[in-house]
């Protein structure tokens, strides 16, 4: 693996509106919490450099609108994602329930090479609040059932687990990226035909 290869990891944060996507992103990147965030319209992103396994990696973290009907816009933003972070609010069971559909929607729209192994990370946010309604166990169970997705309980407000979670995100995204490179020297070219390659991965890519 050449160390000169660009190491830009595109991370998408998804989840119902108001679960704290923007807050998490800002807590991670800017190390601060504000209660002044507005509902995200369209999309925004922040970048941050992290060191993963001695490699400097730039994370480009995309924050999206939470209302599902804005997902039609998602294609433009999801493309080329290396990792997807699904966030729910531990005090709002509904946001937990919709994780499934967020995940499916992402896989449809981003159509990653290898949907089965695409790295997701689940964050149960707002654990600083008292009125918790989704138990740790429930969250973990769901994640286990989905191919052992890493699960973190975070608080963007009090910076609980945020750093740890994003480190994991970066690492998993990087692993994904690395794996892709092993299969093909020209990942970019492959991306053009992401669908085909996802399907015929074993057959096609070995030839390269």
């Amino acid at each position: 693996m050449s160390s000169r290869k660009k190491l830009l990891l595109k991370v998408i944060i998804l989840g119902d509106s108001g679960v704290g996507k923007t807050s998490l992103m800002n807590q991670f990147v800017n190390k601060k919490f504000s209660n002044q965030y507005k509902a995200t319209i369209g999309a925004d992103f922040l970048t941050k450099e992290v060191i993963v396994d001695d490699r400097i990696v730039t994370m480009q973290i995309w924050d999206t609108a939470g209302q599902e009907r804005f997902q039609s816009l998602g294609v433009a933003f999801y493309r080329g994602a290396d990792c997807c972070v699904l966030v729910f609010d531990v005090t709002a069971p509904n946001t937990f329930k919709s994780l499934e559909s967020w995940r499916d929607e992402f896989l449809i729209q981003a159509s990653p090479r290898d949907p089965d192994n695409f790295p997701f990370v689940i964050l149960g946010n707002k654990v600083d609040l008292d009125n918790r309604a989704v138990s740790v166990k429930r969250g973990q169970q769901w994640c286990q059932s989905k191919n052992d997705i890493p699960y973190f309980e975070t608080s963007a407000k009090e910076a609980v687990n945020v750093e740890l979670a994003f480190q994991t995100i970066a690492r998993n995204a990087l692993a994904q990226e690395t794996e892709a490179e092993l299969y093909n020297e020209f990942p970019d070219q492959i991306k053009l035909n992401a669908n085909d390659n996802g399907r015929n991965r074993d057959g096609d890519n070995c030839a390269c």
């Binding site: 000169r4 290869k5 660009k6 190491l7 830009l8 509106s17 108001g18 209660n35 002044q36 965030y37 507005k38 509902a39 319209i41 369209g42 999309a43 925004d44 992103f45 970048t47 450099e49 400097i56 730039t58 480009q60 609108a65 939470g66 209302q67 009907r69 804005f70 039609s72 816009l73 433009a76 933003f77 005090t91 069971p93 509904n94 609040l129 008292d130 009125n131 918790r132 309604a133 989704v134 138990s135 166990k137 429930r138 990942p187 970019d188």
Partner: protein, 1181 residues
């Protein structure tokens, strides 16, 4: 880099001391100015960043400028630095005397020796290529972007080591030893200026810490704008940073430093990179033919060597190149040699080749002596390589033999080039045919390769090669010089009539054109030279058509002076025609362009231009008053629109004017009419509110259930059993009173409302001990209920209260309310009975546990009767009004934790209006009603108000309806709470108003529902109108247009498409950039702009102005004013965008960071200008 050209020139005419002094000083000025500019840019960069990156483009250009200064007037010959454009040797030379130089020299040697790290960077892509500061993120881009290290290597290293200034100082003080007297460095003034200029850059910190990719993606929008401002101030355009702008400017043949070295001077390229590139198809040269393993026997080689032969069409003519295989792929073969080294060699070699290949073919001694080991070999190979300008060749000899086909080029001077041996198999033929094609239309092979007699077909196969080659005897006798005896030998003459004159022309007239940057091949300009394939002009150019017909050409040898005048005439007439044809095509293109504009854009603006005159100040209060007549009528709507469009509305009267602008008030309406309209509007608003408030209550109820359920589950999971108490109590409750159960729903309501206002406090309570809460509420409710039921009088009192409050609100409403209230008592009795029945039924049917819980809470209420709070009053009345059954079941189920069953029951049992629920809402709603003060004392009244309307509007709510409203409600609340919290206007009270507006609108449009962004649209209206009902009315009008922008509508895509056309026509340069860099011409980055009418992009004051303009523009200039504002935003920052070659992510980041920081008035006025521009475009047919 022009500077380097000069260096070459200087070295050519070395002892140029006798040259006039004026141009000398001028040149020095220029050199120094270049350094100054680069230093300035670098220092600016250092100011905005903490450190400068080593690979920054600024560093490279600075080094280039310094190199140019140092190279000027260098005594190369005396120092043994012949024919080299690099000053590296100079450094090594002075190393003996100058410790700093010694240090740097050592480093340079080390750097040249070390492989690997610099591998990709050995050669600069193109000396003049602007390095876009913002690197692309494409994975492949790193290589392409990687910095030119070996270029100016020593200066670079000296700079990073902070020794550069000292070294130059040393040079300046010892100038006499190294420089001509008139050299820049030797000049007392310029020399010291140069060294002192570099002190600054030498003090900077240079770092390689971050990889260039990430480094350049970082700068925040602020900094970009800032940088742009600084650089915009400089006199010379920062060409390095504005690649696309250069494109335009280059058309004007600007002579700035971007005009580059490798505009071919006829002697070959000066940089190795160019050479490497030139072997391939590239932008400066078209590869016409390429063949490997073509053998050539160079002069000093014993036997023919294989190599790569290629034929290139460049801006100045055809070039034949042959490069030994050892150079082409030798690097790969010799495993020990590192690539970076090889690239270095290329640099050397190109210098060698520059002098050797074309002229004297003797290997360059300088590099031989400098290069150790394999390098020398390379240099030798380079010396062997061939580069021939076809127009220098007069004859092409072809010798065909058994083994191979040989081709010999004979120059004008009669010198033969080494023979080129083609492998068998038709390669020679295809080369010749390519050559002939390449010569067209200005020249041709004589005799033509393709015989006129239909031999072409045969020829094409390449098998029968003789046929197409006409026998020499036919036409060869005229001026054939030497001719081989072999039957397989042919001689072709390269006829090019215009060449000689063209050459003259090029040097005189077209010099500038040729000098302009090579990376944009400009057909029209180049067409005067021999090579262009522009057919339209070509036909004009080729008078010697006789040549084509196979007749012996009459044209004399190109170098005969006799023909000069004639050919100059020819060129002149050619140019004349070209000018005319270009003018014609220009006109044609313009016409087409216009028709495009008309078809695509005419719909975007109004055809008639309404003038601005006198509208600068906008609609001031004075003007507004003067337009209003006695009855409060404003009639001149066009004038109002015009004034508003051009100048906005004075803030004080916005509240009055906006309803007109949004079409809520009719122009020409009287004051009375408007008051009437307001009143009915408010009435309607309240009615609607009462409707959804009922549903909200149900929603709240359900929420509580759900919360309780999940909490229960959670606590179960934790092993606790919280509902124990309630279980115990439940039995009693149940027995006590069924009606109590019915009380529950109202109970629920108070809580949510509380939640809204003091959520933080409430929530924890809720979660910990929900039962307690309920108990309190229920107590009150139940008590009241009893009172109500028993004593009608009590209800009356509440009614009267209601009336009072209503009076405040609206006189007309009173009747309605009263009636409903009056009806209530009767209804209550009935309903209570019904409730009892139902409740019993439910209890029997449903799972005992759930009921017990609820009952038990009710029970508690009864026991601990607290009558003090008026809140309870509310509770009873709602239930009484309607069959609250709906609410009941759910209440029952709450504790049981099975919300689903609750839902179904709700479905079945028609609750006319769960009034109790309404109360709570009304409380918050009431608070927001302007007339009502939200003090706690008045709360009860407010509630009672709500009760009555609710009762009058009783309805059946299906489960779907409740659910969909619940969904919307939650979203609204989430967003309302987050809406402009930093803006002082949005206190809790006003946020409640906003919430009510949202809910009311959504209730009216439940099929579309709430969509994120609506809050943002409503907020400024509320800020302006202060009052809910009218803000709601305006919001409804606003949404009539804006609704389509939301995902459910189609307008957004239309906006994007329109933007695409507009920007294509108004700023194609920007469009090109967007298209080229990840193609973001989908314009998604404008999404928020259009969705919210720029509300998030500007501050409130500016939003007001922008919105007014958008509204007024519908009637004045364009129904799509948003497009033009968007365009104005883009145009405002176009230079920043271009300079940094932003891609999609860059631009999103940029505009997100620039939000609320735009100079709104400038943007708006630019938007108006753009409208006018399009209008004028369309008008001037």
């Amino acid at each position: 880099m022009a500077a380097q050209n000069k260096v070459d020139n200087d070295s050519d005419e070395m002892p140029a001391a006798n040259a006039p002094t004026d141009p000398e000083t001028e040149q020095k000025e220029r050199l120094i100015a270049a350094v100054k500019k680069e230093v300035k840019q670098l220092m600016e960069e250092a100011v905005t960043r903490k450190f400068v990156h080593e690979d920054s483009g600024g560093v490279t250009t600075l080094c280039g400028a310094v190199e140019a200064c140092l190279g000027q007037g260098l005594r190369r010959r005396a120092l043994g630095l012949f024919k080299t454009s690099s000053t590296t040797a100079l450094l090594h030379k002075i190393a003996k005397h100058c410790p700093e130089a010694a240090l740097v020299s050592a480093r340079v040697l080390a750097a040249e020796g070390t492989p690997a790290t610099r591998s990709a960077s050995g050669v600069e892509r193109r000396p003049s290529a602007p390095r876009p500061p913002l690197c692309k993120r494409g994975s492949g881009s790193l290589l392409a972007q990687s910095p030119p290290q070996s270029k100016y290597l020593w200066i670079r290293i000296a700079l990073f080591e902070k020794q550069l200034a000292k070294i130059i100082e040393h040079l300046v003080t010892n100038a006499t030893r190294y420089y001509e007297r008139d050299a820049l460095v030797a000049d007392p003034d310029y020399g010291s200026i140069l060294s002192s200029l570099l002190v600054g850059p030498c003090a900077l910190e240079y770092s390689k810490a971050k990889p260039p990719v990430t480094f350049w993606t970082d700068p925040p929008a602020d900094e970009l704008v800032q940088r742009h401002r600084m650089s915009a101030g400089t006199t010379t355009p920062p060409s390095v940073r504005r690649p696309i702008l250069n494109f335009k400017r280059s058309l004007n043949a600007s002579s700035d430093d971007s005009s580059s070295v490798n505009t071919v001077t006829g002697k070959g390229t000066t940089s190795a990179k160019d050479y490497v590139e030139s072997l391939h198809q590239n932008s400066t040269a078209t590869l016409l033919y390429g063949k490997n393993n073509v053998r050539v026997q160079p002069k000093d080689a014993e036997e023919p060597m294989a190599g790569y032969l290629s034929l290139h069409q460049t801006a100045v003519g055809l070039v034949i190149k042959w490069t030994p295989n050892q150079l082409m792929n030798g690097y790969a073969e010799s495993e020990s040699v590192d690539k970076s080294l090889l690239r270095c060699h290329l640099v050397h070699a190109s210098a060698c080749q520059h002098t050797c290949v074309l002229c004297s073919t003797k290997p360059c001694t300088v590099y031989r002596s400098r290069c150790a080991g394999p390098l020398c070999v390379d240099c030798v190979y380079w010396a062997m390589s061939l580069q021939v300008q076809v127009w220098e060749v007069v004859y092409v000899h072809v010798h065909r033999s058994q083994g191979s086909d040989a081709l010999i080029l004979v120059g004008q001077d009669g010198v033969q080039r080494p023979p080129i041996h083609f492998p068998k198999g038709g390669h020679l033929l295809s080369f010749l045919s390519n050559l002939e094609t390449g010569l067209l239309p200005h020249g041709q092979l004589d005799p033509p390769l393709w015989s006129q007699r239909g031999a072409g077909k045969v020829f094409g196969r390449g098998k029968n090669r003789r046929r197409p080659m006409p026998s020499l005897s036919e036409c060869g006798e005229s001026d054939e010089v030497d001719q081989d005896e072999a039957a397989g030998d042919y001689v072709f003459r390269i006829v090019n009539n215009a060449i000689a004159d063209r050459e003259a022309m090029r040097h005189s007239l077209l010099e500038r054109a040729v000098q302009s940057p090579p990376r944009t091949p400009r057909r029209p300009l180049a067409s005067t030279s021999t090579t262009s394939s522009d057919s339209s002009t070509m036909s004009v150019d080729c008078p010697p058509s006789a040549g084509f017909s196979g007749l012996p050409p009459i044209t004399p040898a190109p170098h005969q002076p006799v023909e000069q005048t004639a050919s100059i005439e020819l060129v002149c007439s050619t140019m004349r025609r070209q000018i005319i044809s270009r003018a014609f095509y220009g006109w044609l293109a313009y016409c087409r362009h216009l028709s495009t504009v008309r078809t695509h854009l005419s719909g975007l603006v109004h055809p008639n231009i309404i003038t601005k005159e006198g509208a600068d100040s906008g609609l001031t209060e004075e003007i507004w008053r003067s337009m209003t007549d006695d009855s409060g009528t404003v009639n001149d709507k066009n004038e109002v629109y015009r004034l508003v469009y051009y100048g906005g509305v004075q803030h004080d009267i916005r509240k009055e004017v906006w309803p007109y602008l949004l079409g809520y008030y009719e122009f020409g309406s009287t004051t009375e009419q408007r008051i009437e309209q307001d009143a009915s509007c408010r009435r309607q608003y309240e009615t609607t509110m009462s409707e959804w408030l009922c549903v909200e209550a149900i929603v709240r109820q359900k929420d509580r259930e759900a919360t309780a359920a999940s909490i229960a589950r959670l606590s179960e999971a934790l092993g606790k059993l919280p509902p124990v108490e309630s279980n115990g109590d439940s039995g009693e409750v149940f027995e006590d009173d069924c009606s109590v159960i019915s009380d529950n729903p109202p109970i629920v309501t108070p809580e949510p409302s509380d939640n809204e206002q003091r959520r933080p406090d409430n929530k924890p309570v809720l979660s910990r001990a929900p039962s307690v809460d309920e108990i309190d509420n229920i107590d009150l409710d139940s008590e009241e209920k009893e009172k109500d039921v028993k004593v009608n009088g009590e209800t009356d009192t509440s009614d009267t209260r209601e009336i009072d409050s209503l009076k405040d609100l609206d006189d007309e409403d009173d009747d309605v309310h009263l009636k409903s209230v009056v009806e209530n008592p009767d209804m209550r009795r009935e309903s209570i009975a019904e409730i009892k029945r139902l409740a019993e039924g439910i209890v029997q049917k449903s799972d005992g546990r759930g009921l017990l819980c609820s009952v038990d809470s009710a029970n508690v209420n009864l026991n601990g009767v607290d009558q003090r709070s008026s809140v309870e009053e509310n509770g009873p009345s709602p239930q009484q009004h309607t069959s609250v059954i709906v609410t009941n079941p759910s209440v029952d189920l709450v504790p049981s934790g099975s919300p689903a069953s609750g839902g179904t029951t709700a479905n079945v049992s028609p609750s006319r209006s769960p009034l109790g629920v309404v109360r709570e809402e009304s409380q918050s709603a009431g608070a927001s009603f302007d007339t009502l003060e939200p003090t706690s004392d008045q709360r009860p009244e407010t509630r009672s108000n709500c009760v009555s309307p609710a009762s009058s509007n009783g309805g059946v709510y299906s489960n779907e309806l409740v659910e969909s409203f619940a969904l919307n409600l939650h979203r609204i609340e989430k967003d309302v709470q987050r809406c402009d919290r930093n803006y002082p206007f949005f206190t809790d009270e006003n946020l409640d108003k906003l919430r009510n507006i949202m809910c009311t609108y959504v209730w009216e449009h439940l099929e579309t529902g709430y969509m994120q962004g609506m809050c943002d649209l409503a907020a400024p209206l509320l800020v302006m109108m202060k009052e809910e009902a009218s803000a709601h009315a305006l919001f409804t009008r606003l949404m009539d247009r804006a609704r389509d922008n939301f995902p459910s509508g189609q307008a957004m895509d239309a906006h994007f498409a329109d933007m695409r056309s507009l920007i294509q026509i108004l700023d194609c340069e920007l469009y090109e950039l967007m298209h080229a860099h990840g193609d973001y011409t989908h314009f998604y980055f404008c999404y928020r702009w259009f969705l919210l009418d720029f509300k998030r992009e500007m501050l409130y004051q500016d939003v007001f102005a922008a919105w007014e303009m958008i509204w007024a523009a519908r009637h004045v200039a364009s129904e799509h004013m948003v497009l033009f504002i968007a365009l104005a935003l883009l145009e405002t920052y176009r230079d920043v965008i271009l300079a940094n070659t932003m891609d999609f992510t860059d631009i999103i980041k940029f505009f997100n960071e620039m939000a609320e920081r735009h100079d709104a008035s400038a943007v708006l006025s630019l938007a108006r200008d753009l409208v006018l521009q399009v209008q004028t475009l369309i008008e001037n047919k």
